[in-house]
Symmetry: C2
Subunit: 374 residues, 2 copies
Amino acid sequence: MTLRFTVSATDGAARRGRLETAHGAIDTPAFMPVGTAATVKAMTPEAVVETGAQIILGNTYHLMLRPSAERVAKLGGLHRFMNWPGPILTDSGGFQVMSLSQLNKVSEAGVSFQSHIDGAKYDLTPERSIEIQHLLDATITMQLDECVKLPADDKRVSEAMQLSLRWAERCKTAFKLRDGYGLFGIVQGGTNGALREQSAKGLIKTGFDGYAVGGLAVGETQAEMFATLDVTTPHLPQDRPRYLMGVGKPSDLVGAVQRGIDMFDCVMPTRSGRNGQAFTRRGTINIRNARHAEDPRPIDEHCRCPACRNYSRAYVHHLVRSDEILGSMLMTAHNLTYYQDVMQGLRAAIAEGRLEAFAAGFHAGEASGDIPPL
Amino acid sequence: MTLRFTVSATDGAARRGRLETAHGAIDTPAFMPVGTAATVKAMTPEAVVETGAQIILGNTYHLMLRPSAERVAKLGGLHRFMNWPGPILTDSGGFQVMSLSQLNKVSEAGVSFQSHIDGAKYDLTPERSIEIQHLLDATITMQLDECVKLPADDKRVSEAMQLSLRWAERCKTAFKLRDGYGLFGIVQGGTNGALREQSAKGLIKTGFDGYAVGGLAVGETQAEMFATLDVTTPHLPQDRPRYLMGVGKPSDLVGAVQRGIDMFDCVMPTRSGRNGQAFTRRGTINIRNARHAEDPRPIDEHCRCPACRNYSRAYVHHLVRSDEILGSMLMTAHNLTYYQDVMQGLRAAIAEGRLEAFAAGFHAGEASGDIPPL
C-alpha cells in the first residue's frame, strides 16, 4: 500500500485514525471541504486551514472542462495552481457527468457527455479519469463508477454495480503507483445489502488503498443511509480508510462515524452557507430570518470562527440580505469551522472511549433549538 | 476645528499631511476604499488593513435604506457593526439619491425619493443627512449638496451650487461638534472657474473641517477635471484637507495630488476588480483575456498583495472566468493594494521633494504596457 493508515483507537465500530500522504497527514474521522473548481468557494486557502481542514476535495468533472487537466498540469498541478499544499482528493468525474452534463451516455467503455458550459463533447473512460486525476496531481484518486439515482430496481442497481467493479479493475491497472498517493475503490449496490457485500468483496479482491461508499446521499432517508452503512462497513477491511461520498448534515456525520466511516465530503456547509443557512451547536438557523436583524449576538457563541468572533447576527443578516460577498465569506467560514469542530469532537470522543456520550450531547444540542430572541 | 490636520511637506501644490481623528490618524494624500453597504465588497476588514488603507468610505444612501441608520446606531455604530475600528467618512447620500433612486425631486428643503430596493418614500434634508451620519457614527461627515450631471449650462450649475451653499450652512448648524470628528463642505460649480471660486468662498465663510471638490468624475475628460482643480484648489485654505470626491483612475490621483488634493475615494479598484480589470505598474490589464490563461507569472511582479504573492495570472484568470468569489476577493485585494502603493509613493515623493520625477516614472510605467506574453 502506498498510503499509510493507522487506527489508534476504536469505540464500537468507530475508529480514530491517521492517514499519511505525500502532502501531509489527515486525522480521521475527517471532513473534506469541497473545492469544486480549484477553490473552496468564498474562501482563501489560509482561511480553509484556519477552519481545521487538512484535506480538500476537487471535482474532476469541473476541472477537466475548465481550465482542463492538461493546463493544470502545465501550471504545476492542482496544489500549486490553487495554493493548497495539503492533501487533495479528486472524485472521478462520473457523478457530476451523470448529474450536470447534457446527453450523457454510459457504455462498457465509459461515459460520453456534453459539457454543461459550452456543449463540447467529451469521453470519460476509467483510464481517462485516472489520467486526468494524475495530471491534476491528486493525492487520493477515485475510481470511475456508475452512480444510479435512488429509488431504482435491483436489476438496474446491480448492473451499475457490476459495471463499476469492471471499471475499478481498469482504474487499478491505469493508476500509477507513487509513494504517498493512493487509489480508492467505490462500493455500489444502492440500499441492497447483498449487492453492497458483493461490491465490497469484488473491490477487495482487486485491492485499493481505501474504500468509498458511493451511491448514497442521492435522495434516500437518513435511516436508509444508516441501514445501508450497517450492511456495508462490516465487509470493508479494518486497516484501510472508508469514505462516505457526498455526505452530509452534521447528524449524518455523527451517525456514519458511529458506523465506522473515516472520511466525508459534502457541499452542504459551503453551499448552504452562501444561501444563509448556518449550522450551530443548537441546530441550523437561517440568518436571513427577520428575527436576526437586530441581534447583537454571534451566530454560535461557542464558535471560534471569524464570523462568530468579530460580527453580530445582525451584521451577517444584513450582508446576506444585501447579497454581499462578505456574507458568503463569513457564512462559509462559520459552517466549515463548525463541521471541523464536530469532527474534532468525534475524534477526541473516540480516543477517550466516550463516543456514545458525545453523540448524545450532540443530538441534545441540535434538539435544544436556537437561542431565544432577545 | 475638531480635526487636527498638519502639513509636513509640500512639493509644488502637492502636500504631505496627517489628519488626526477620534478613530486614528490618516496619512495624506490618502485613498479611501469604498465600503458602500457596511462592507468593502469581497474584503474582510483585516484584508483592507493589509492593503495599507487607513480610512474607508460608507454610503449614506445605501445604509439609510438597509439596514437603516437607526439600526446601525442601536448596534453600536458603523465601526462596531462592520468591525472597522478606524476612521470612516460617509457621504451625504445626495449623489446616490440623484443617480440611483427613482422619482427623486430636489427642492429648497431637500430631496424626496423612492428607494431603488423597495420603492419606499424618503425625504433627505440637510438636517436628516447630518442626523443619519451622526447615527452611523461617521468620523467625517459630508454636507448634503446637489450634484448636477455635466455637461449642463452655467445657470443650472450655478443654481445647484447656490442651493448647495445654503444646505452647507444648514448642515453646519445641524452638525454636533465632537473631538476628533469633522464636517466637510463641498465645492460645486461644474467646470466654471468663477462659480467654483464663489462656492469655495461661500463655504470658507461658513467654515468647515475640510473642503471637498464635488461634481467631478461625472463624465468630463481628465483634462477638464484637472483644469477645474487648477481654478479651484487655489481658493481653498492651506491648513485644511481637500477631498476630490469619486476620483478616480491611478493617473487621476497622481494629477490631482500634483494640484493639491489630499483625499480620494472611488469604486474603480473594487468594482473593476470584480469585473476582471487589474491596475498594475504597467497599466491596466483584463485578466479575462485569453493571453493570461496559461501565464504562470503574477498580475504584477512588484506587488505585495496576496494575489500576486501566491497565485498566477492563469489561476486568477480561471477564477474570474468561472465567476468564483475568490476571483473577486483576489482582484479586489490586488487593486486596493496597488492604489495604496501609488498613494504611498506619492507621499514619499512629496516628503522628499521629488514628486515630478515620481509622476514621470509613474506615467512611463503606465505607458510601457503589459509584460509581453511568454
